[in-house]
C-alpha cells in the first residue's frame, strides 16, 4: 500500500470515530494552527525566502497576517456557523421543526499552489477544520522548502491522523487523486484543474477549483491616474507578479497611455528603487521553466519600462509593455510574472467587449471616479469578483466569497463561505407521529375531493404580485364607480360644483391609505372630473 493510500485510510478511520465533530475539538485544532503560525514565524519566513526570495516582512504581510485573521474569525464565529439554521415553514409543516444542519463531509484533499505556499494551502485547511472534516494537505512540490517545513512542523501541532501532510510531485498527486475523497480543494492552473476535476468525477467527489485567468484592469480617464497606477503597481509586482489575482493586463484609452506608463515607472522606482535586482523586497521567478516561458511571452511587444533579466537568479525586472493588441503572444495565456501589458481601447464599451470576448476572469479591476461606469461594468461583465479602485484587497475581506466562475474556477471560500463549501447543508424535517387525520388526503385511493384538499394545502404559494395587482384593480374599479356616481351628481347640478369638489376631496382622503399608485390614479380621475 502506498504512502498516500495509507494516509487517506488513516484519516478516514480517524474521521469515522467522530472525534473531529465536537466544536471544542475543532476550536482546539484551530488554536493549535494559530500557535503554529505564531511560534514558527521564523521557519516559515526562511522557507519562503528560499523559495520565492520574499523578505520576512513581505511574507508576514501577505501570507500569515491574513491567515491569522481567518483562523481567529473561525474560532470566534464557529458556534454560530455550525448551529442549525431554521427555515420558514409552510402550512403542512407548521407544527414541526424544519432546519438546515451543516455537517462535515468527511476527508477533504487540499492541493496548494506555490505562489503563496502558506496562505493558499492553509486557508482552505482552516475551513476544513472548522467544518469538522479530516484533511489531507498536499503542498505544492514547486515551493519545495515550504512544503518540507510544512511536512515537518505541522504534525507537531495538529492531529497527525486527521490532518496529515503528504508531499511529492506529479506521480504522488496522481496517486492521491486515485483515492476517494469527499471533497477536493484545488488551487492552481486551469489545465491541472481539469485533470483534478476529472479524477474527482470518477468517485463523484465535489470539487472547489481556485484557478487563475487573465484578470483585466480597466483605467477610466476620469480617475486619479497617479493613485490608480500606484495601486496597480503594488498589486502587479508584489511577489514578482506571481499572484493569481494580480491584474494581468491594463485596458485604457490611448490618450492616457503615456501618462499611465510614466506613473507606473515612477511607482516602480519608489517601491523597488532604481535597481530592483538588488532590492530585498522584490521577489524572483519560481524556477527556470517559468523564467523561460515569461521571456518568451515578451517577444513581439514594445517594452516601455524595465525589461531586464538575469537567468541565473531567475530575475525579471518589473516590466511594462505598451501598444499590445489582443493578438500578441503575451495575451494568449495567463502571464503570472512581472510583465504588465497595456492595451488601448476606445472607451468603456470596447473594454467591456474586449473582456466579454475572453474567458471569465477571476477578478476584474476598474479604476474610475464615475459610479455609473462602475455599476455598468458590474452589470455587463462576468468575473469571479470585481474590485473598484484598488487591487488585491478583496482577498482579505472575509465576508466576501472568494472564488472564480467559468474558466477561473468554481466554488468559493473565506470565512463562512469556506465553512459552507466544506460542509454539507443537510435539510432536516422533524415531525411527530400525530395529526394523522391531516395526512389522509394524500393516501390512496385517490378521490377528487382529496385532490382538492391537497391543492389547497400545497399551493399556498400565491402569486402575490398578481394578487396585489388584482386587488388594486378592484379597488380602482370601485373607486371609479364611486367617483363617477359623484360626478353624475355634479353634472346634474352645475351650480353646486363646490359640493362636488368636496365629495371629490373626501374620496381622495379615503384613498390615502391605499397603495400610492392607486392614490395617484384616483387623484387623476378626480382631477379629470374637475376639468369636465
Amino acid at each position: 500500500m502506498s504512502r498516500e493510500q495509507l494516509a487517506v485510510q488513516r484519516a478516514r478511520k480517524s474521521f469515522q470515530t467522530g472525534k473531529s465533530k465536537p466544536l471544542e475539538y475543532r476550536i482546539h485544532q484551530l488554536k493549535s494552527l494559530l500557535r503554529f503560525i505564531t511560534e514558527r514565524r521564523r521557519d516559515i519566513a526562511d522557507a519562503v525566502k528560499k523559495d520565492l526570495g520574499k523578505s520576512a516582512n513581505g511574507t508576514e504581510l501577505f501570507e500569515t497576517l491574513g491567515l491569522e485573521g481567518e483562523i481567529k474569525l473561525a474560532i470566534e464565529k464557529l458556534a454560530e456557523w455550525a448551529a442549525p439554521r431554521p427555515v420558514e415553514k409552510n402550512l403542512l409543516t407548521i407544527t414541526d421543526e424544519v432546519y438546515v444542519q451543516p455537517e462535515p463531509l468527511g476527508v477533504v484533499l487540499i492541493i496548494g499552489a506555490w505562489n503563496y505556499p502558506w496562505s493558499v494551502t492553509l486557508q482552505p485547511l482552516v475551513a476544513a477544520i472548522a467544518a469538522g472534516n479530516a484533511a489531507i494537505i498536499k503542498p505544492s512540490e514547486v515551493s519545495s522548502n515550504s512544503s518540507k517545513v510544512m511536512e515537518e512542523l505541522l504534525p507537531q501541532y495538529l492531529d497527525k491522523d486527521l490532518f496529515p501532510v503528504v508531499t511529492g510531485g506529479v506521480s504522488e498527486t496522481q496517486e492521491l487523486l486515485k483515492q476517494k475523497f469527499d471533497h477536493v480543494f484545488y488551487t492552481g492552473s486551469s489545465t491541472v484543474g481539469r485533470i483534478v476535476m476529472e479524477a474527482a468525477a470518477r468517485h463523484l467527489t465535489p470539487v472547489t477549483l481556485e484557478l487563475g485567468g487573465k484578470s483585466p484592469c480597466y483605467i477610466d480617464k476620469n480617475c486619479d491616474i497617479s493613485m490608480a497606477c500606484r495601486r496597480i503597481t503594488w498589486g502587479k509586482f508584489v511577489n514578482c507578479g506571481q499572484t493569481c489575482i494580480a491584474p494581468d493586463f491594463v485596458l485604457c484609452e490611448p490618450s492616457i497611455q503615456s501618462r499611465v506608463v510614466e506613473e507606473i515607472k515612477k511607482c516602480i522606482k519608489e517601491f523597488y528603487t532604481e535597481n530592483p535586482e538588488t532590492f530585498e523586497d522584490y521577489g524572483r521567478i519560481i524556477n527556470q521553466h517559468h523564467f523561460k516561458r515569461l521571456m518568451g511571452l515578451m517577444e513581439g511587444s514594445t517594452v516601455a519600462v524595465g525589461g531586464g533579466s538575469d537567468e541565473s537568479q531567475c530575475y525579471i525586472a518589473p516590466t511594462v509593455l505598451q501598444d499590445v493588441t489582443g493578438e500578441s503572444k503575451v495575451m494568449k495565456e495567463e502571464i503570472f510574472g512581472p510583465l504588465l501589458p497595456i492595451i488601448t481601447v476606445s472607451g468603456v464599451d470596447e473594454a467591456i467587449q474586449f473582456i466579454n470576448e475572453r474567458e471569465k476572469p477571476l477578478v476584474l479591476y476598474v479604476f474610475s471616479n464615475d459610479n455609473k461606469l462602475i455599476k455598468r461594468v458590474i452589470a455587463e461583465t462576468s468575473s469571479g469578483a470585481l474590485l473598484a479602485n484598488d487591487c488585491l484587497v478583496h482577498f482579505t475581506v472575509s465576508a466576501l466569497p472568494f472564488g472564480g466562475v467559468g474558466n477561473s474556477g468554481m466554488g468559493c471560500y473565506h470565512g463562512l463561505h469556506g465553512f459552507n463549501q466544506l460542509s454539507h447543508l443537510r435539510s432536516c424535517l422533524i415531525k411527530q407521529l400525530n395529526m394523522e387525520a391531516f395526512n389522509n388526503m394524500r393516501y390512496p385511493p385517490h378521490t377528487d375531493k382529496k385532490l382538492g384538499w391537497a391543492r389547497f394545502f400545497l399551493l399556498k404559494q400565491l402569486n402575490v404580485g398578481r394578487l396585489r395587482r388584482m386587488a388594486l384593480l378592484a379597488a380602482l374599479a370601485g373607486l371609479a364607480a364611486f367617483v363617477v356616481q359623484d360626478s353624475r351628481i355634479s353634472w346634474r347640478c352645475w351650480d353646486e360644483r363646490k359640493i362636488a369638489n368636496d365629495t371629490g376631496r373626501s374620496v381622495w382622503v379615503e384613498v390615502c391609505t391605499e397603495d400610492r399608485k392607486a392614490r395617484q390614479s384616483c387623484f387623476c380621475i378626480w382631477r379629470n372630473i374637475q376639468q369636465l
Binding site: 409543516t93 484587497v393 402569486n463
Partner: protein
C-alpha cells in the same frame, strides 16, 4: 399534419390532438399516398426534411448533436445580448411556466398516465403543483434574490461598498429522469430562469410522451431563443461546453456526466438516487408509521428517488409492522392493486425485468409478489427475512418492493446505515426524541426526515440534494437560484484616503508591519479583523 395555423397554443394544441386521434397512423407519420415525406412537428421545428419517426404512432424522439450545437449557439447569442438579465423577462417566463401547467394540466396528466400509469392525483400533487409552487415562490421572491447583498464591513472598508451581486452563469443543461419527468425537468428550469440563464432541457427518453409534450409546449410558452427542449442524445450533448449541468438520475450515468463536464470545466449539480434507509423504532405508533411508509414507498409504483428503499426495523415490532403495512396496502389499493386506479406501472420492460429478478432472488415475499409482464405490473411487495447480501440490497431498486430488515437496536441501525454509501435521505420513525437525535447526528445523508417520508423534498424552503454518493449541490427555492447564479463579490473602494494604504507599499519596513499587526489585533478585539492592506 401541417404547421400550426393559429398562433394560439391552445387552439393549435387542440387541433393537433384531434388529428392525432382521428388519424390512424399514416396521416401522422411517414409517407403518404403521393410518396412525399410528411414531417412531424418536432422534425419540422428542427428543420429536418425527413421525419425520423420509427414506427407508427410513436413520437419522434431524437434531436441530433448537430442540432443541439445549433440550439446551444442560439441560446448563447441570446444570453450574451443580455435579454435574460431583466427582472421583467424572468418574471414573464416564470409566469408562462405557471400558465403552461395550468392550461395543460390535463395533457400532462394524460402523458404521465401513458408513460407511468401515474394516477391523476399523484401527477397533479407530486409533479405539477410542486413546479407551480416553485415558480410562484420564485416570482414572489425574485426581486429580493436579485438585489445585491451587502456584507458587513470592517475597519478598513467602512468607507467602501462591499456587496455580492448574483449574476447568471450562461447556458445551463438540465437532464431529467423518468421517475418524475415533469418535476425533474421543470423545477431546475424554474431556478435557471429565475437566475437569468438560458437552458437546454433534456427530458428522459424512457418517458417518451411527457418528453414530447414538453418539447411541444415549451416553445409556445417560453422564449424560443433561450429555452430549448431536446429529445435524447444526452450522451453526446453533455460533451458540449455549458456553463452548468444539472443532472437528476442514477449513479453510473451521473458519474459519466460529471466526467464529461470536468473535461470542459463545467460545474455540475447531481441529484442521484441511493438506497434510502428507514429506521422504525420499537417505541412508536406502528399503524401511523406503516401508513406513512406505505404511502411513500408505493406511490408512483415505487419509482421515486426519495422513497424509503428499505426498512430497518426493531426486532420486537417487525411482525406488527409487516401486518400493519399489509392492512395499509389493502386500504390503499384494495384487494387487487391491479384494478386500483391509484396504482402505477413500471416505466419500461428493462426496469420491470430488473426489479422482478431482484424480487425473486431476495428474501421471502410477505405481501404481493405478483407480476404481469404485459402490463409492466408489479404488485406492491413486502419482503421479509432479507439480509445484506441479497441482490436487492446490492443494487438500486426503482420498484414497488420494500425489503424489511431487522436490527436489534439503534446502534446496529446506525452502523448499518453508515456502512452503506451516503443516501439521499434518511428516515426515522420513533416517538423517542433521543433516538431521532442520535440517528440525525450519527448518520450522514442529503436530507433527514423523522416520522414521515418524502415531505422534506417537497419544501421550497429546504435545500434538496445529495452528499457523497447521492450527488452534489442542491436545489429548490432560493437554493436553486444560488445554484444557477454566480455570486460575484464586489468591493467598491473610494479613492480618497490614500494615506491609509501607504503602510502596505514596499519597501516593507518593520514599523509599517508592526503598525499593521497592531491595527489587526485591535480590530480583532472589536470583532472582525483589520485590512489596512
Amino acid at each position: 399534419m401541417s404547421s400550426p395555423q393559429s398562433p394560439s397554443p391552445h387552439r393549435w394544441f387542440n387541433a393537433l390532438r384531434r388529428t392525432e386521434r382521428s388519424s390512424s397512423g399514416e396521416l401522422l407519420i411517414g409517407i403518404n399516398m403521393s410518396g412525399k415525406t410528411r414531417v412531424c412537428y418536432s422534425c419540422q421545428r428542427n428543420g429536418r426534411l425527413t421525419c425520423r419517426r420509427t414506427r407508427l404512432g410513436e413520437p419522434c424522439l431524437k434531436t441530433y448533436p448537430l442540432e443541439c450545437e445549433g440550439l446551444l449557439r442560439r441560446a448563447r447569442v441570446t444570453f450574451q445580448a443580455g435579454h435574460t438579465l431583466k427582472e421583467s423577462f424572468r418574471v414573464a417566463q416564470l409566469e408562462a411556466v405557471v400558465r403552461m401547467l395550468e392550461e395543460h394540466e390535463c395533457d400532462f396528466v394524460d402523458a404521465l398516465g401513458k408513460d407511468l400509469h401515474k394516477p391523476r392525483f399523484e401527477a397533479v400533487v407530486s409533479e405539477l403543483i410542486l413546479v407551480k409552487n416553485e415558480a410562484l415562490y420564485a416570482i414572489n421572491n425574485l426581486k429580493k434574490w436579485m438585489q445585491p447583498q451587502h456584507v458587513e464591513r470592517n475597519l478598513s472598508t467602512t468607507l467602501d461598498e462591499c456587496l455580492m451581486v448574483s449574476e447568471p452563469l450562461g447556458v445551463v443543461f438540465i437532464v431529467g429522469t423518468w421517475c418524475s419527468p415533469v418535476e425533474t425537468c421543470l423545477v431546475p428550469l424554474v431556478g435557471a430562469i429565475a437566475a437569468g440563464n438560458c437552458a437546454i432541457i433534456s427530458p428522459s427518453e424512457c418517458t417518451a410522451h411527457t418528453a414530447e409534450l414538453l418539447h411541444r409546449l415549451i416553445p409556445f410558452y417560453l422564449d424560443n431563443e433561450c429555452f430549448h427542449v431536446i429529445l435524447a442524445g444526452t450522451r453526446e450533448v453533455v460533451e458540449l461546453k455549458f456553463d452548468h449541468v444539472f443532472f437528476t438520475g442514477n449513479r453510473s450515468e451521473g458519474t459519466r456526466i460529471a466526467q464529461a463536464a470536468a473535461r470542459t470545466l463545467t460545474p455540475v449539480t447531481l441529484i442521484l438516487g441511493g438506497k434510502n434507509p428507514c429506521y422504525v423504532d420499537q417505541d412508536c405508533d406502528i399503524a401511523t408509521t406503516a401508513q406513512r411508509i406505505a404511502w411513500a414507498r408505493f406511490h408512483n409504483a415505487g419509482q421515486s428517488l426519495v422513497a424509503p428503499f428499505y426498512i430497518l426495523c426493531h426486532t420486537t415490532v417487525t411482525a406488527r409492522l409487516v401486518q400493519a403495512l399489509k392492512c395499509c396496502l389493502m386500504q390503499f389499493y384494495g384487494s387487487d392493486p391491479r384494478e386500483s386506479s391509484s396504482y402505477g406501472r413500471m416505466v419500461n420492460l428493462d426496469i420491470f425485468n430488473r426489479t422482478k429478478d431482484m424480487l425473486w432472488k431476495s428474501g421471502k415475499v410477505a405481501v404481493g409478489g405478483q407480476v404481469i409482464e404485459a402490463e409492466k405490473y408489479i404488485a406492491p411487495t413486502i419482503l421479509t427475512e432479507v439480509t445484506e447480501s441479497n441482490p436487492i440490497m446490492q443494487q438500486d431498486i426503482f420498484g414497488p418492493v420494500l425489503p424489511v430488515l431487522t436490527v436489534n437496536n439503534v446502534d446496529e441501525a446506525i452502523a448499518f446505515i453508515n456502512k452503506q454509501e451516503k443516501p439521499l435521505c434518511v428516515y426515522a420513525y420513533s416517538s423517542n426524541n433521543k433516538v431521532i437525535t442520535r440517528l440525525m447526528s450519527e448518520t450522514s445523508s442529503g436530507s433527514f426526515c423523522s416520522n414521515d417520508s418524502i415531505l422534506q423534498s417537497l419544501m421550497v424552503a429546504l435545500p434538496f440534494g445529495g452528499v457523497g454518493a447521492s450527488g452534489m449541490g442542491s436545489y429548490h427555492g432560493r437554493y436553486s437560484f444560488d445554484t444557477f447564479s454566480h455570486r460575484k463579490s464586489c468591493l467598491l473602494r473610494s479613492t480618497r484616503f490614500e494615506c491609509v494604504t501607504y503602510l502596505r507599499y514596499p519597501p516593507y519596513e518593520d514599523h509599517n508591519l508592526s503598525l499593521m499587526t497592531w491595527a489587526s489585533t485591535l480590530s480583532q478585539k472589536s470583532q472582525g479583523w483589520c485590512h489596512i492592506l
